[in-house]
Amino acid sequence: MSMTLPLVRLIEAFQKLPGVGPKSAQRLAFHVLKQSSDDVGQFAEILKEAKAQIRECPECFNLSGQSPCEICRNKSRDANTLCVVAEPSDIFALERTGEFRGLYHVLHGLISPLHGIQPEDLKIRPLLARLGEANPIREIILALPPSIEGDTTSLYLSRIIQPLGISLTRIAFGLPVGGDLDYADNLTISRALAGRVPIS
């Protein structure tokens, strides 16, 4: 069956999105065609605006419509603690908890020579710049994913930050809260065992 060109292009455009396969792309495309012109126009406008307005924060490299971002300009946050994450979406996850009141730094990736990502491709130099003289930062928390690339990036950062005399910690890895020990995989359990803490 041959489809009209504008429809094919629309389906192809949706298919470029992550997690969208050919079937979903087709469903989305037909849904868009059913919508009113106003709704579609508004959606297009929102896309364009978001792309035009959202930039990387010059301080922490979080994505924001403001510069510096909302978190960096919030004076009530603790400027002594810095949490290093891989992606802006990780900030969302941490902010949802409401536990962390410090500032962030987004690396925008993890070291992976296999994918051509070297330390200099990440926002590590700006991180070091933030740790320069007269900085208020006393503790850095590494909140990188527990993968080989995440571990390597953490080790790399610890090698270059340790000499600066700033306290460096890494978030704990282990069992999900409310999870059953029986259902956890071996690696998670061994990591949880290795990272055990005394009961206070």
Partner: protein
């Protein structure tokens, strides 16, 4: 015992869509060359080992005309009462450079990693190519060791895959240094971090390999003495790194890490990981002489047989029930004495899959009298152009 009750396959290699049930005893898989006997055995091997013993690229597993392949098996583990439906699916990528998608399921639930599949259908396999283990490359012996150790303890599988991922990353980094003309001071810190990871993963993998070899050593030696009373067989793990460290007893992660530092300049110049478990080997000695170089063909076959029986004993011991035995064309390659040796040492209640082009009456008599005491526990599966015909065929038709 571990019992593969049923198997179904779609678009798997040259196999026609099939579903068949197996006997808990002896299963003969008969057919001429190229009819799909080994493919049938490979599908059981895959569900047991989570990796193929022969496919270099898993794309090979999907039939040429199809976009995806699937194998499913029902496995019963009597001792633990475990009843599993195991499934592996491969989907061909849609683009040329895309990645093959592999989906693993246990009881219809997706598994996060391949290592989780292991232990649900424990097996010992003996392929005709295994007979060349001593003549072959160190790579073949490492693959054998890693697969056998993973059957014994699925954590070994994780150690192997972690190490492989780290090695791949480090190798890419070194190759990049080579192409861009040397490493700067900054990038040496980068390499140092990979070396830290490399050392940790290497030492854990090497220890696990040595542990497994030590476990089977006694059993293997006993089986060999049974066959050749005047010769003593011993196994040893040969490590390129440990050979460099003078005091082997002091070998640990730190010692390994120091060796990596010493060889760093060379590694950067060559653009390769020069030391590590990916260069190690298993050595076999008969009366302290290297059996790989000096052993006769007969001796080497006996060694492989002893090795497989050692694997069998140790795995049976840890499971408290006999694993599945996969024998691919191997009987025809053994002389009567070794055939009997193998058959007599199997647990009578084990499930056995045996491929062959024709039934050797002597082997049949020996097998059937040993396994299940010649009850109706035997099944002949005839394969023709990837098609299966189950049920007890008459012997005459099977031979012709």
């Amino acid at each position: 015992m571990v019992f593969v009750q049923a198997l179904s396959a779609q678009n798997f290699r040259n196999l026609a869509p099939l579903s068949c049930e197996f006997s808990p005893g002896l299963n003969w898989i008969l057919g001429d060359n190229g009819q799909g006997k080994t493919n049938l055995l490979e599908s059981i091997y895959l569900l047991s080992n989570a990796r193929s013993h022969r496919a270099k690229n898993e794309r090979e597993l999907i039939a040429h005309t199809a976009n995806n392949a699937r194998i499913t098996a029902q496995v019963l583990m009597q001792q633990t009462g475990g009843h599993h439906v195991l499934e592996m699916t491969w989907e061909r990528p849609q683009t040329e450079n895309g990645r093959l998608k592999t989906i693993l399921k246990q009881n219809h639930q997706p598994l996060k990693s391949r290592s989780q599949l292991l232990g649900n259908c424990p097996s010992v396999s003996f392929f005709v190519t295994d007979l060349l283990l001593l003549r072959g490359q160190p790579e073949d012996r490492r693959r054998w060791l890693d697969a056998a150790a993973a059957q014994y303890d699925r954590r070994h599988f994780q150690l192997v895959s972690t190490f492989q991922k780290i090695r791949l990353q480090k190798a890419h980094l070194l190759r990049e240094y080579l192409e861009t003309g040397g490493a700067s001071q900054d990038s040496l810190t980068h390499l140092a971090v990979w070396n830290d990871q490399f050392a940790e993963a290497s030492v854990r993998l090497m220890q696990s390999r040595q542990h497994y070899l030590a476990l089977i050593q006694d059993r293997v030696t006993c089986h060999y003495i049974d066959m050749a009373p005047h010769e003593t067989l011993s196994l040893s793990y040969h490590s390129s790194v440990m050979a460099r460290v003078l005091d082997a007893s002091a070998f640990d992660e730190d010692a390994f890490r120091q060796e990596l530092d010493k060889i760093q300049v060379q590694e950067c110049r060559r653009g390769q990981c020069l030391i590590g478990p990916h260069r190690d080997d298993v050595q076999f000695f008969l009366n302290n002489q290297d059996a790989t170089a000096y052993g006769s063909q007969g001796q080497q076959r006996s060694i492989v047989l002893a090795l497989k029986l050692g694997e069998w004993d140790v795995l049976s011991g840890v499971l408290c029930e006999p694993p599945v035995l996969l024998l691919d064309d191997v009987m025809a390659e053994l002389d009567p004495e070794r055939q009997d040796h193998l058959i007599q040492r199997l647990a009578p209640e084990a499930q056995v899959f045996l491929t062959t082009t024709h039934i050797d009456r002597r082997v049949q008599a020996s097998l059937e009298s040993h396994l299940g005491e010649g009850q109706s526990q035997h099944q002949k599966i005839q394969m023709q152009r990837g098609q299966v015909q189950c049920g007890a065929l008459k012997l005459e038709t099977a031979i012709s």
